[in-house]
């Protein structure tokens, strides 16, 4: 194999990968167009919004059009397609999150156009930064390599530091940006160090390869010798993820940044940014735990090519991976049966037992099992602490954005719960683990709507009142009844009351905890639901029950745009709360990729 041949292969791989990467490509093109329009047509104030909206919408359409192809993959059998020499991994789960990101962005840009936060001359820059950040999130959703993990996080992170400080005239805004950037840099540093430790002990940065090496350590003494480094590396890696997720104890930036920066930025930081961190956590866990089914299970080429041509996809897409994995795959291939795989990768679908027998046995289990249990424990503790702390701290808040910041921390906890359940069940009950991941994907999808609604409320109220203190909104229902009802629906959805979507999200998350037998976490989550009642309800109480002040009573009603926007979000929460079967089916299909 000479160099030219190798370069030729790389070229082919890049071309294939780029086609799968088309939605992101469209986002990149939009960014360029935005910058150009700023230069060529500076007087068209509304143009950037339209450009960005169209671009994001095109990306959304491109991503949605890829879905049927990926949805077909598991039947081939083949669950993912590698991209860029195995740095990225394209599958249904990643696509699910990318569709969420693009869909959210389309709505978010509409919302930006409504509140018009950035000064007209800076709209282009604001949108470019936002799209760059979304691009980073997309990389996070497809990362299959620790390098891409870091790259994705920084690509998403650095623009968001600038966005946090975008309102240059406000002191608090600048302070928020600096704080955010400092915390971000520190955690990225810690994470990078953790990565080096992991790479040192496992000899690779490619997640599936790492997972395979880990599974290959069957000798307990060798494992015991390397365990401290491994544990330290994992913990440090989790620091970075927990920072992005705003999980306690890496949450200190959240209230200050949310309070200091504009509500629009908060809406971005608390929703898709968090979703990106969650999918990244799932990626890291799934890679390390080696539940990766793609590698040894090479698809039937003819079937694959047929499917690919049907959906206009690169026909020769193949996972392109490092030598160790290729050897494993080749070994499987040599045995004649493409489905025979090394023991370490055995998927246990057919023998899925619905008891936690494996957990209760006294023997320590394989390294992968140990890591699975360790990760599950760490994530469960993070979830429990974040949830409880967030809810308790939110109780005393007077500033609406600060309250939502703590609510975000609490929801990060709820969001982590099904992930903890999935990780705990990964090796023992893969079927149920996938179910739990579907629950977390469902949670994310619903949470995006709820929190966008909540932050949009603060933005609209800020524009109307020039205030973000909850008590100033007293009696708002007298002025704008429909808007207040929509806000109330969003708040009740955040509590998790049926028949609203927030309940559905919590129900699915708690159900996955039941499956995995994490009883303590279930009880903590349930009790937290009751605690969270107070502060969400207080917002509603102030708006609905309290007597309006003179200032409020004299106010004109809210604009039609704001009312419609919130009403649509609230209505979608109600509809999803009753008819959530399609969304959950979609989430389950997405989670089937692992």
């Amino acid at each position: 194999m000479n160099l030219l041949h190798w370069i030729g292969q790389l070229e082919g791989d890049a071309y294939r990968s780029l086609r799968l990467f088309a939605p992101e490509g469209l986002v990149c093109a939009t960014m360029l167009l935005l910058l150009l329009s700023r230069m060529l047509l500076p007087s068209r104030r509304r143009l950037p919004y339209w450009l960005a909206f169209v671009g994001v919408f095109a990306a959304l359409a491109a991503a949605v059009m890829q879905w049927p192809f990926f949805a077909l993959l598991p039947q081939l059998p083949h669950t993912a397609v590698g991209g860029f020499t195995g740095l990225l991994r394209f599958d249904t789960l990643g696509l699910f999150f990318r569709i969420l990101f693009f869909g959210f962005s389309a709505v978010f840009i509409l919302f930006l156009g409504m509140t018009r936060l950035p000064p007209d001359e800076d709209v282009g820059e604001f949108l470019v930064l936002y799209l760059a950040s979304i691009l980073g999130l997309c990389v996070m959703a497809s990362a299959d390599h620790l390098l891409m993990v870091l790259l994705g996080m920084e690509m998403a992170g650095v623009p968001s530091y600038i966005l946090a400080g975008f309102i240059k005239s406000r002191r608090a805004s600048g302070e928020a940006a600096v704080k955010f950037a400092l915390f971000g840099a520190a955690s990225a540093g810690v994470m990078l160090y953790g990565m080096t430790l992991l790479a040192g002990s496992l000899g690779s940065l490619h997640l599936p390869t790492m997972g395979m090496r880990l599974a290959a350590w069957t000798d307990p003494s060798a494992f015991a010798a390397r365990a401290p480094v491994l544990v330290l590396g994992l913990l440090m890696l989790l620091v970075g993820l927990a920072f992005k997720l705003s999980a306690v104890p890496f949450h200190f930036w959240v209230p200050d940044v949310f309070e200091g920066s504009a509500a629009e930025v908060g809406a971005y930081l608390s929703t898709v940014s968090k979703a990106g961190a969650l999918i990244l956590l799932i990626r890291v866990a799934s890679g390390l735990l080696g539940a990766d089914a793609t590698i040894p299970r090479l698809p039937d080429p003819a079937q694959f090519a047929a499917a690919a041509s049907r959906f206009d996809m690169p026909a020769d897409s193949r996972p392109v991976i490092r030598e160790g994995v290729i050897q494993a795959g080749a070994a499987a291939d040599r045995n004649g049966d493409p489905n025979v795989r090394p023991v370490a990768f055995a998927r246990q679908d057919s023998t899925a037992e619905h008891s936690t027998a494996e957990h209760s046995t006294s023997e320590l289990g394989s390294p992968a099992q140990l890591v699975s249990r360790f990760l599950a424990a760490v994530i469960a503790v993070l979830a429990a602490v974040s949830c409880t702390f967030g809810n308790l701290a939110a109780y005393g808040q007077r500033n609406f954005k600060r309250l939502l910041a703590y609510s975000t921390i609490a929801h990060a906890g709820y969001m982590l719960m099904p992930v903890a359940a999935a990780v705990a069940m990964w090796r023992t009950q893969p079927e149920l683990a996938r179910w739990a991941l579907a629950a977390s994907a469902l949670y994310v999808a619903i949470y995006l709507i709820m929190n966008l609604g909540a932050f949009a409320t603060t933005a609209f109220l800020r524009d109307a009142f020039q205030s973000e203190t909850i008590d100033d909104f007293a009696g708002w229902i007298r002025v704008s009844p429909s808007l207040t009802v929509a806000v109330a629906v969003i708040m009740f959805s955040l509590i998790g009351l049926p028949p609203l979507a927030g309940f559905v999200a919590k129900f699915a998350a708690f159900a996955s905890l039941t499956y995995s037998g994490l009883w303590a976490l279930l009880v903590i989550g349930a009790v937290n639901t009751a605690i969270s009642l107070f502060y969400y309800l207080r917002v509603v109480k102030v708006m609905v029950l309290d007597a309006p002040s003179e200032a409020v009573a004299a106010m004109p009603p809210m604009g039609k745009g704001a009312v419609t926007f919130l009403a649509v979000l609230a209505a979608s929460l109600l509809v999803l709360g009753v008819l959530w079967q399609p969304l959950f089916t979609w989430a389950k299909a997405a989670a089937g990729a692992l």
Binding site: A352, F492, P499, F503, F510, A526, T529
Partner: protein, 655 residues
């Protein structure tokens, strides 16, 4: 199909009316009130048609649909079933149905909703929002009583939370916000506990454990039955309450597996659900939200709260806790009975001490709902005797008491509200002499208060006396205390009547406001008093619908107990009752001749069936013989328990 239309119409017609109200301008208050009243009245008429034959043209298609949905009296099973897949991923069905437990409560709800809507003319603030919330509340309540899928039940249970919060919080008295949040928080804690139990039950259920016959009996959806017949490694979970009950009563019930702290899953789920439901009942010590909520709520909402919402707790215990977790229910029977008893006593004493008229009525609710809990909890079914008639009597009494209390407490709250509208205070000590000023009102109030007191001939009597009689068989001490609570009740109610209605003249503020009843108010009061009298005189009117289902519930549990007995003679918990010794002694004294014959009969009574039956745990030799004889004797009694209940009522009234 026809039944599906009717039942859905009953539940969702109020929601539909609420949606229509959205488009009615807010200033048209009179139109809004009339529309609300019209909607509730329509719902009531439709629900009434479930039990009343039609008078219309039998060839009219609408008439035909409605008559197909008629509820057949005397059957214990479920009728008017609707089952549509809702969330297949979680095996959730939109599953509704009626039986003897739910039908009376549905009728009570629709009836009281009409009266509460009629009483809502006193609401003058934000009438539109009030009416919309009120109608949504009605949908939630009706949904709870008709849902047979636990998830659906939970959703409806929570749906009625929010309207209630706002109805108390916006239209309530001076401390409305405190009362509303307290109500919300208590109920939410209860429902969160319920959610945990719900998930545990779901995850541990497996339809495949049931035989095909049982699956059909459990009314599982056809698709589930087909699916469960196919060989599969995976368990097939369910939220179907009927199927869950079948699973819970099976010999190898999945809920018997070990849970936390050495207790079974059934024990934990039962406890969690019990707390959730007892908060709603409410029972001491989780009753504290009730007086606050009642005092602050506006009159129509108080009527609904006392008349319907409290019944959800009792209904939940009867529908979910007992059939699904009989083992835990047996183990904790002492707790349930004791809480019921304590609520009765505490509520009565607390009522006696109140200065606020409405608070007094609220505490009387705590006391009266205690009878419901005691009637359910008094597990007089003793292994070896297998005499379930008294427990049936107690449960029938509990159900009857729920309906009776629904009528009388709603009536009492309305009476207090009428007075408050006129004189704007509720202090009992500043009343007096109302009878002279408002004779018609006072007569209605006397009737309703006496119905609550349990005067023979009025509805309150039947339920209370059945519960006390039934608890006699469970524990004499409890029965004696329960019976003496009737005296306390009479005490505080008569004292209240004396202080408020009698006396020379009214000396409190706003004496000029004491105008006679308006026709609207009079008809609401009369509408509550008439059924109270009818049910008191002819309780069979209710029992013919209720008793078969109550008996089915008890018989199923009795069947479970027998099977458990056969499978493992020592399998059942033993020291479950607070005063076993007293009861055992009582059983022996109760049948002295049986005791005397014990030795002679010991050998002859050796038929196989009885040998199996008498294989009980704690008994000494002599005891077992007693039981054997008791069983032999009781088996000669007539089996028709409805008659027994009617008998008991008749004899008690006669004496």
């Amino acid at each position: 199909m026809a039944t599906a239309i009717v039942l859905n119409l009953i539940i969702f017609l109020p929601t539909l009316a609420a949606l229509i109200l959205l488009f009615v301008p807010a200033w048209a208050t009179e139109a809004i009130r009339r529309l609300t009243l019209g909607a509730t009245l329509l719902v009531f008429l439709i629900s009434l048609r479930l039990i009343v034959p039609g008078f219309g043209d039998p060839h009219n298609p609408l008439e035909q649909i409605i008559s197909q949905a008629r509820f057949v009296a005397g059957e214990g099973g479920y009728q008017n079933i609707i089952q549509i897949p809702w969330i297949p991923s979680f095996d959730i069905f939109y599953f509704l149905g009626l039986d003897g437990l739910s039908l009376p409560l549905v009728l009570l709800t629709t009836f009281l909703s009409v009266l509460a809507a009629a009483a809502s003319w006193s609401i003058t603030k934000h009438v539109k929002a009030y009416s919309i919330l009120f109608l949504l509340l009605e949908t939630g309540m009706l949904g709870v009583f008709t849902a047979l899928d636990f998830f659906l039940f939970y959703v409806f249970w929570e749906v009625m939370l929010l309207p209630m919060y706002f109805l108390i919080g916006i239209w309530g008295g001076p401390r409305r916000e405190y009362a509303a949040i307290k109500f919300f928080l208590f109920t939410l804690v209860g429902s969160v506990l319920m959610l945990i139990a719900l998930l545990v039950m779901y995850y541990n259920s497996d339809v495949r454990r049931l035989s095909e016959q049982q699956r059909r009996e459990a009314l599982l959806h056809e698709s589930v039955i087909t699916k469960s017949l196919a060989p599969s490694e995976k368990p097939l979970h369910t939220f179907n309450l009927v199927a869950l009950a079948k699973l819970g009563q099976a010999e190898d019930s999945p809920f018997t597996q070990q849970g936390l702290f050495g207790k079974s899953l059934a024990w934990w789920c039962f406890l969690l659900l019990l707390i959730g439901f007892l908060i709603k009942v409410p029972s001491v010590p989780v009753h504290t939200w009730l007086p606050d909520a009642h005092v602050e709520a506006p009159t129509p909402i108080s009527m609904i709260l006392a008349g319907v919402l409290l019944k959800m707790g009792g209904y939940g215990i009867l529908r979910i806790c007992y059939p699904i977790f009989p083992s835990a229910a047996y183990e904790l029977a002492w707790l349930v009975s004791l809480l019921g008893l304590v609520s009765m006593v505490y509520g009565a004493f607390a009522a006696m001490a109140q200065k606020d008229f409405k608070r007094l009525v609220a505490y009387s609710s705590v006391s009266h709902m205690g009878y419901v809990v005691l009637g359910i909890g008094a597990w007089s079914l003793v292994p070896g005797i297998w005499d379930s008639q008294y427990w049936k009597m107690g449960m029938n009494g509990a159900m009857f008491q729920m309906i009776a209390h629904g009528l009388s407490s709603a009536g009492m709250f309305f009476m207090v509200g009428v007075l408050y509208d006129r004189v704007h205070h509720r202090e009992i000590d500043r009343f007096g002499g109302i009878y002279g000023k408002m004779p018609a009102y006072s007569a209605l109030a006397f009737g309703l208060f006496f119905a609550a007191l349990g005067l023979p001939g009025l509805c309150g009597f039947i339920g209370e006396v059945l519960v006390v009689l039934a608890s006699f068989r469970y524990s004499v001490t409890i029965a004696i205390i329960a019976a003496s609570v009737m005296i306390l009740t009479a005490g505080y109610i008569l004292w209240t009547i004396q202080r408020v209605y009698l006396g020379p003249e009214y000396r409190g503020p706003h004496a000029e406001g004491l105008t006679p009843l308006t026709p609207r108010e009079f008809s609401i009061g009369a509408a509550l008093l008439i059924p109270a009298v009818v049910l008191g005189v002819y309780p069979q009117a209710l029992f013919q619908y209720m008793a078969p289902s109550v008996e089915r519930t008890v018989d199923e549990i009795a069947g479970w107990m027998r099977r458990g007995e056969i499978a493992s003679p020592n399998g059942l918990p033993t020291a479950a009752h607070p005063n076993d010794a007293i009861r055992e002694g009582f059983v022996q004294n109760w049948q002295p001749e049986a005791k005397a014959n014990a030795n002679t009969n010991a050998n002859t009574a050796g038929s196989t069936e009885e040998r199996v039956d008498t294989n009980t745990e704690p008994n000494t030799e002599a005891n077992r013989k007693t039981n054997m004889n008791a069983k032999a004797e009781l088996s000669t009694q007539p089996k028709a328990e409805v008659n027994l209940v009617a008998h008991a009522v008749a004899s008690a009234e006669g004496g």
